[in-house]
């Protein structure tokens, strides 16, 4: 089975990194990808954040793409780039500092080619 490349971008001012990593690993385990490596990359400066279009901590890149990137221009307007904690919305509408695990699983399945894009 092909393994996607995974990168978790984080910033020290936000305490959600451990939870995001745990939820990512749980999603990988569910898909039989327990041994997939997750590269951790710290974003340290505003310059690094701007250069990488860092939308906040944590940000998860699947095959180099921010899986939670806004799909519509209107949503993109709500996103900011910089050193901050990222605001996610769970599927039930609640605000959360980490992605909805179901969204994460779906994105991983998509990367594996299990679902139509």
């Amino acid at each position: 089975m092909r393994s996607p490349t995974l990168e978790l971008l984080w910033w020290e001012g936000c305490p959600s990194t451990d939870r995001a990593l745990a939820e990512l690993r749980a999603a990988l385990a569910e898909l039989g990808l327990d041994h997939t490596e997750v590269a951790m990359r710290e974003i340290r400066t505003a310059g690094e954040a701007a250069q990488g279009r860092f939308a906040g901590s944590p940000t998860i890149l699947i095959d180099g793409l921010d899986f939670a990137a806004p799909k519509r221009a209107a949503e993109a307007g709500e996103e900011t780039v910089g050193l901050s904690c990222r605001v996610y919305r769970r599927r039930d509408g609640r605000i959360s500092p980490t992605p909805d695990p179901d969204d994460l699983r779906d994105a991983l399945r998509k990367a594996l080619g299990e679902v139509e894009p």
Partner: protein, 179 residues
């Protein structure tokens, strides 16, 4: 420096989004809750409704809630005074939203995160400091640590749990590039 439990809370005067001045020692409140919060932090946003519900539930018992935003608005424009005004205009806030532009109040209390709560008794002494409850991700918690502390203070007792670790985004201090 962090304010110790039992210590007299520093006085201050801050302006809310309507231009009105507020002080923790003003009025006849049976207790005062200071909520260091902001607009852009997912932890503050996740807990906001629970804190607002507590403000509504305890209003008729004379408890006053003051929300305070101390974040550096230059680096975080979503936490500007104008953004605070827009947010209050768009939402139903049961408490005034004060702007600590110089961050003197946040420093005086030793606030660290958004949210970070400080419960003062009627005499202005600190009785609880920390998080609203144990899990930002569980609305069913209903800010129970805060409510327990308020119930104790209103009964003239010491809160069983007087201090918890505040959890949230770091306050964005002026003149710092990160953290």
């Amino acid at each position: 420096m962090t304010l110790a439990i039992g210590a007299p809370a520093p006085d201050f005067t801050l302006t809310d989004t309507a231009g009105e001045n507020w002080s923790p020692n003003g009025g006849q409140a049976t207790a005062t809750v200071l909520v260091f919060t902001c607009n852009h932090c997912p932890y503050a946003l996740a807990w906001h409704d629970r804190i607002a519900d507590a403000a509504r539930d305890y209003a008729d018992r004379g408890v006053r809630f003051l929300a305070i935003n101390a974040n550096d608005a230059e680096r975080y424009p979503r936490d500007s005074y104008e953004a605070m005004q827009r947010r209050v205009a768009a939402e139903d806030w049961p408490m005034p939203y004060l702007h600590d532009a110089t961050q003197e109040v946040a420093h005086a209390y030793g606030a660290k995160t958004t949210p970070d709560l400080f419960v003062l008794d009627a005499g202005g002494a600190l009785r609880y400091r920390g998080a609203p409850d144990s899990d930002y991700d569980d609305p069913g918690q209903r800010a129970t640590w805060l409510r327990d502390a308020l119930d104790a203070v209103l009964a003239g007792a010491e809160p069983e749990r007087s201090e918890t670790k505040p959890v949230g985004c770091s306050i964005k201090w002026l003149g710092r590039s990160a953290s």
